[in-house]
Symmetry: C2
């Protein structure tokens, strides 16, 4: 396959693998039924605001036409890696947020095609230089990674489940990637160390150059061989938070896309990338599904970044 | 009483009221027995690194000579407001930190003289322009405040107990002060709003110009009529944390002292003051009692500030 008019060709091409799903979300005041979600969808919606993105994922042939249209409507997202599997069921997730919007219950998870063979990375994407491996079984993440031999920097997301049931595969993955993104509770679980900076430091012992420990409403910490950076979350008021779903994925999207558009992966650039991740997450929580990052104008993004920099000046 | 050679005479003279106590602290790896503590002692030790401080507090005649010598050894702390009450017992507190160093149990509290009549503000301190009212009954805080009629800015600390048993007096105090400093759980308790920014906004409805909501290891948020500022905690590694006692009091000390030395109380100055509070707290947690802030050299303070600014750049 040769490049089409929509295919990005720049050197720091960014690829994301992860879920494309159908989410049903309840909050104390509202409900969204079967809306577009999934880690790769959220990531791509955010990242594509800053740089072109190549998406690798799989849906079933039940994937709603309007959701496909939403993905196709995202500028700068190359969907040649989106596989539609005949007879398969699309990943679906249901969650409910409690009154404080910081705790949630998972109501159901229907893995569908996500439990089957992973999608293939198209040949046209094999030259991607920046790779984000959305959360899935670490052995699958490793397989996906091996299909992108020219990568300059690979970052993986993970979760508690894999720390429990696939610890060795996760440790192996950590020896192959440049960075890992995980929650503070997951970092503590993986290392046995509760302090986020010290937990991150331990994780570097497994091989990656850096770890990003996400603390939700409390921001994030970057622990890197070359330094430590800490960023608060955007100081959102209560009525600004409509639906926190996807905040972590869009944080990762903003983070990686800043690397892609600058073509740099040094510590200083990673530090600034944390702020772009924060900006993207602040839009995501303001609406259901991808709406928050989608409807923000380029001027809105720039203005929010400036507002954040003013709020968080030290 | 006329000014002595040790009495600060600058216009933004800073006064603190609060406890002077004897602390016994257990951590998972160490123990400190009957060391100098108390909110005003911690505050003064930190603040005096940046600006002269006038201390108002009361101890019993059992107050150990070596603790008095420690207070007298603090440069730029004016102790003319330290009352030694005959026959009284000095405030004593015992606490134990759990393995993660972020949760603690109070083992005992012996109020002693703190449960009796509050100390008087000496006439020589009545012209103080910046006032910090350490945590005590809000009616007592109001009484103390009334003795400092020329104040330019007054800030109070409070705690859950007073929200429960002296809610009306606390609301009255809030109508008299310019700022309030409290923990995130206390802000939520006072307002019924969990989101720190929104809770702070509600508190401004009681009268103060600003609220500082402290989040411990997650930093602090300043909610001010003129803006919002958010600051992470210093990204301390696990082995840097020896004893968190006094972190909040030294945070307040660094915060207020930055206002005192600049002679300014505008939003921008308050925002920078958050970082100086953070720097002071980062030294406090590194040792028992006042040792952390006491032994840091002026160069150490400047270097830590620069390190923090580098870590927390957005």
């Amino acid at each position: 396959m040769t490049s089409s008019s929509t295919a990005p060709t720049q050197s720091s091409s960014l690829l994301v693998t992860g879920t494309i799903g159908i989410d049903t979300v309840e909050t104390p005041t509202a409900r969204a039924e079967r809306v577009l979600g999934g880690s790769a969808a959220y990531f791509a919606a955010a990242a594509s605001r800053l740089a072109p993105v190549r998406l690798v994922g799989v849906v079933g042939d039940d994937f709603p036409a309007q959701h496909r249209a939403l993905l196709e409507g995202l500028n700068s997202v190359d969907l040649r890696g989106l596989e539609t599997r005949a007879g398969g069921k699309t990943f679906a997730w249901g969650g409910k947020y409690l009154l404080n919007m910081n705790e949630r219950e998972t109501l159901f998870t229907e893995l569908g095609v996500v439990a089957e063979a992973p999608p293939k990375v198209p040949a046209a994407f094999a030259d991607s230089s920046l790779v984000f491996l959305g959360n899935t079984h670490p052995a699958v993440q490793t397989q996906l990674l091996e299909q992108i031999p020219q990568r300059k920097l690979a970052v993986a997301d993970t979760m508690d489940l894999w720390i429990n049931v696939a610890h060795d595969e996760l440790v192996h993955l950590l020896s192959k990637v440049d960075g890992i993104v995980l929650n503070d509770s997951e970092a503590a679980h993986l290392t046995g160390v509760r302090n986020a900076v010290s937990a991150g430091r331990r994780i570097l012992g497994y091989g990656p150059k850096f770890a990003v420990v996400k603390k939700g409403e409390h921001g994030a910490v970057l622990i890197h061989r070359d330094g430590v950076a800490v960023v608060p979350a955007f100081p959102a008021e209560e009525d600004m938070v409509v639906d926190p779903t996807g905040a972590g994925d869009t944080f990762a999207g903003g983070f990686m896309a800043h690397l892609a558009r600058t073509g740099r992966t040094d510590f200083e650039t990673l530090q600034t990338a944390l702020s772009w991740g924060t900006v993207m997450a602040s839009f995501t929580i303001g609406a259901f599904s991808l709406d928050g990052v989608k409807r923000a104008s380029a001027a809105d993004l720039e203005a929010r970044y400036k507002t954040f920099a003013r709020h968080a000046r030290v």
